[in-house]
């Protein structure tokens, strides 16, 4: 479904990504692993149209080319991003944040139905819907951010470090919500520090190192991969 080919991104002289190619099939969950600064966020931003890739890159959703088109059109095409740090609007209420999620043309008609789905997924948001988001906990804010992205009825949901800064209990809750989203048939592309949990969720994964793709495989094979184990899973403790 999503096809990214030969993607390179640089910020001035600083090269963030070199020649990265990934694919996400319909309904598939894919995780991007990599240390801080490996280029994971740049990859998501480039797909979302928030940064311009170097010439020669090809990003396509079902053969519809997305390279070089503005962010709001990428969303219309069916790719939503939950940005790192959530990007929610603290002065607005939960319900207003969700309304904003349905701003895209593709989402307007189905907004009431999608809102129901979001509230089913995160029942806690129902009771908080008139509360200002800034007054809520980090975990609840992350629910709002994910809910808002879901309001645009995406075909592919991208999440940039969704568990960052959350209490362990909330991380568990977050991943069970993501599992439900996945079972509903939505494709996921996740950048995540919580490697074990994301490999449990994902079908496949890619490993980025210093802006280059250094490995990929099924979630099971990555879990067994000695490099991944050493770098991300703390092998000694795991054995």
């Amino acid at each position: 479904m999503l096809d990214v080919a030969r993607l390179s991104v640089s910020y001035g002289k600083h090269v963030a990504l070199t020649d990265v190619s990934i694919r996400v099939a319909t309904g598939e969950a894919v995780v991007i692993l990599g240390a801080n600064g490996a280029g994971k966020s740049s990859l998501l931003k480039a797909i979302a149209g928030l940064v311009q890739p170097a010439p020669g890159a090809g990003v396509a959703l079902d053969d519809k080319p997305l390279t070089g088109i503005p962010a709001h059109e990428v969303l219309e095409a069916g790719i939503a991003l939950v940005p790192e740090g959530r990007g929610i609007f603290g002065d607005l209420t939960v319900s207003e944040n969700l309304d904003l999620g349905a701003y895209a043309h593709r989402a307007r008609k189905e907004a009431p139905r999608n809102r129901d789905l979001v509230y089913q997924l995160f029942p806690r948001l129902v009771e908080r819907r008139h509360q200002r988001v800034a007054t809520m906990s980090g975990g609840e804010q992350q629910m709002v951010a994910i809910g808002r992205a879901l309001m645009s009825a995406p075909r592919l949901l991208m999440l940039d470090e969704p568990s960052l800064g959350l209490a362990p209990v909330m991380v568990g809750e977050l991943f069970s919500a993501l599992k439900q989203i996945r079972h509903a048939g939505m494709a996921l592309l996740i950048v995540e520090q919580s490697v074990r949990k994301s490999l449990d969720l994902a079908d496949r994964g890619y490993v980025l190192e210093a802006g280059r793709m250094v490995g990929n495989g099924t979630a099971a094979s990555l879990r067994e991969d000695p490099v991944v184990q050493r770098a991300f899973l703390g092998m000694a403790a795991d054995a």
């Binding site: 962010a71 939503a80 990007g87 999620g101 200002r132």
Partner: protein, 318 residues
């Protein structure tokens, strides 16, 4: 619901009282009200764009002057309603041209550009008048009594507030609040930033143009230095800031006291007017950066907040 009906009733009543004002007022009072309404409309239109998007525009007077000049140039050629229409279209054209080329500029660059734009338009008009028409000033003789000008301005002011109210409650209003907060995330929500900003800038600019056009017959004689006077831009801005530029009633309520104060200052201290004006600008920006509304609200909240445990009623809007 009750509250909504009450607010509408107050609004209608105020409008009716204001509409009847010309029957009770002397010429001076009416003149004062015309000036006041002009600035109420200018400040509200300014707030409609700049207060909501955070793009501070100093181009108010460029549009204001274009409106005035359109009337001066056309009032003997076309019937009055058509003159207003042409003025509005001229403002729209200028706004689209400027908006398309500048709304990509962020922060201070936009401020500087709009300030430069007002000067550019003034210089262009001056150049044209000197080299092509051979005069610097123009006379406007029209059969419009002050009460007609007043009623037109009143209608425009009411329309501006109504449009702003509608926009604030719409999907677009929500989008605007978000653009000022975080453009990147806004774009990511599917908001077409360029188009949204451009549409609002054009709307606000057309209103400003009409204020200039409607007021033009009051002056009888106009020249570029009068109708493109940058003080108009600054006054508009500081009025909107005083009241709270992002609120529906903020700019209007900021315009009333400041307009009266400026009238009094210019009558009593004509030579020190600019200095006093400058000091006042600085004082307002320092003391009330978000406007009196936000200031009052903040103080009420911190006083009431001690009693409350859970922050409820987060949705309450002015």
């Amino acid at each position: 619901m009750m509250k909504g009906a009450f607010v509408w009733a107050i609004f209608a009543l105020t409008l009716a009282v204001l509409a009847a004002a010309p029957f009770f007022l002397e010429a001076y009072g009416l003149g004062l009200l015309i000036g006041l309404l002009g600035y109420v409309t200018l400040a509200s239109a300014w707030g409609l764009f700049s207060g909501r998007t955070g793009y501070v525009s100093l181009a108010t007077v460029a549009f204001f002057g274009v409106g005035a000049y359109a009337v001066a140039a056309l009032n003997e050629v076309l019937p009055y309603p058509l003159v207003l229409l042409v003025a509005a279209l001229a403002g729209l054209g200028l706004a689209l041209a400027v908006g398309l080329s500048t709304l990509r500029l962020a922060g201070v660059y936009f401020v500087i550009f709009t300030f430069g734009l007002a000067e550019l338009v003034r210089q262009l008009v001056t150049w044209y008048e000197i080299n092509v028409t051979g005069t610097l000033g123009r006379y406007i003789f029209m059969d419009l009594g002050p009460e007609h000008i007043y009623w037109q301005l009143l209608a425009l002011a009411a329309a501006t507030l109504f449009i702003t109210w509608r926009i604030d409650r719409s999907r677009l209003g929500l989008a605007l609040r978000v653009i000022a907060d975080d453009e990147v995330v806004a774009a990511h929500l599917g908001i077409d930033l360029a188009r949204t900003k451009l549409a609002l800038f054009a709307l606000s600019s057309v209103i400003v143009t009409l204020v200039g056009a409607i007021q033009a017959p009051r002056w009888t004689y106009i020249e570029p230095a009068i109708v493109f006077n940058p003080t108009v831009s600054f006054l508009t801005l500081v009025m909107a800031l005083l009241g709270g530029a992002s609120r529906l009633w903020g700019p209007a309520l900021g315009a009333v006291p400041l307009f009266l104060l400026f009238e009094w200052l210019s009558a009593n201290f004509p030579n020190h007017y600019s200095i006093l004006l400058g000091l006042l600008f600085i004082a307002i920006v320092f003391a009330l950066p978000k406007g009196v509304f936000a200031f009052a609200e903040m103080h009420l909240k911190t006083r009431g907040g001690e009693k409350r445990i859970v922050p409820v009623e987060a949705e309450s809007k002015p």
